[in-house]
């Protein structure tokens, strides 16, 4: 079955029905137009992933491997995978990044609660690079909580999170961003794809401002990130009614 993922036509060569159901919303209407990418999984890749994710079904394991196969091939199409939660507010996309457990879900959840907006991809967005914009995409793969939608949003800022007792935010320099960003990227091991990914990472850092948000789980945390990321004065949605 061919799917439309991140504005690419992708053939997912799955053997188990899990992926067919999982990706249903992304099925291409016209199956007769050839795919640009074929994602497939070798038996040894399946076996390796099985040891990393014990207790999951073969279909689930295959599904993880298929996304990996896809994402290792997308650099040739000026795209890459970035581990982040993408929130869209007022037509602009904001990426929240941090190690698992730093509060991406919590912070974006608070943002939705106080300001509104929507989650485009809660965990594993694909980014595309054109002359004018960097877009972040919703894909079928959006984390355990399944937060996301079939949409793309122009990325306007990166926001790295760390937990703290006091809420504050500061702009990160390019070199600070580089070291933090690398932990959140999938770097292919195939040479051309690796080179392309490094070039895209450089473009991302040059084009999109990055911040470090130290935050707790209060409304003030949302105010702090909102005002820095958007450059606007904080107005929670209740006050507009």
């Amino acid at each position: 079955m061919i799917y439309e993922i991140a504005d690419l036509r992708v053939f997912l060569d799955n053997r188990y029905p899990f992926t067919t159901k999982f990706c249903k919303a992304y099925e291409a209407e016209d199956q007769s137009v050839p795919a640009q990418i074929t994602a497939s999984v070798l038996p040894e890749e399946l076996e390796e992933e099985r040891t990393l994710s014990p207790g999951f079904s073969d279909g689930y394991i295959e599904n993880i491997c298929l996304y990996r196969s896809l994402c290792l091939q997308i650099p040739a199409f000026d795209r890459m995978l970035m581990h982040a939660a993408i929130l869209e507010y007022d037509g602009s996309g904001y990426a929240f990044l941090g190690k698992s457990g730093t509060g991406k879900s919590t912070h974006t959840g608070l943002w939705l609660q106080y300001l509104g907006g929507r989650i485009v991809n809660g965990d594993k967005p694909i980014l595309s690079f054109s002359d004018r914009e960097v877009y972040a995409y919703g894909t079928p793969w959006m984390g355990k909580e399944g937060r996301g939608c079939k949409a793309k949003t122009p990325l306007k800022a990166l926001c790295f999170l760390e937990q703290a007792k006091e809420n504050k935010i500061r702009r990160l320099s390019a070199s600070e961003t580089t070291s933090r960003l690398f932990n959140q990227l999938l770097i292919p091991t195939e040479e051309q794809a690796a080179i392309k990914t490094l070039e895209l990472a450089d473009a991302l850092i040059q084009r999109i401002p990055a911040y470090l948000l130290s935050c707790d789980i209060s409304e003030e945390a949302v105010k702090t990130s909102y005002e820095a990321l958007t450059g606007k004065e904080y107005k929670p949605k209740g006050e507009n009614l």
Partner: protein, 88 residues
């Protein structure tokens, strides 16, 4: 000493970044961040050279005392050899 095949070097966000590719990526996961001297030495030792040649090259390129340069090059060589990134 010569740095093994299987690395790509690129400038990312003003930083010199090295990542393993191909077979090298199976033994080494991660990235290396090089400073200016490290970048210079990485390029220099991409071809086969002795540590002494590295010291001479570093002294020719930068205003640095020979003893300091020798210390830097030896340390760089040790790290590369210990991690299997280079061979004697």
């Amino acid at each position: 000493m010569k740095i093994k095949k299987g690395f790509v070097v690129r400038n990312v966000g003003g930083e010199c970044v090295v990542v393993p590719v191909g077979a090298m990526s199976k033994t080494f996961h991660g990235m290396i961040n090089l400073n200016e001297t490290g970048n210079f030495l990485w390029e220099f030792f991409s071809a086969d050279h002795t540590v002494e040649e590295g010291v001479a090259a570093l002294c020719a390129e930068y205003d640095v005392e020979e003893s300091v340069a020798r210390n830097d090059v030896q340390r760089f060589a040790d790290i590369l050899l210990q991690n299997g990134f280079a061979e004697e």
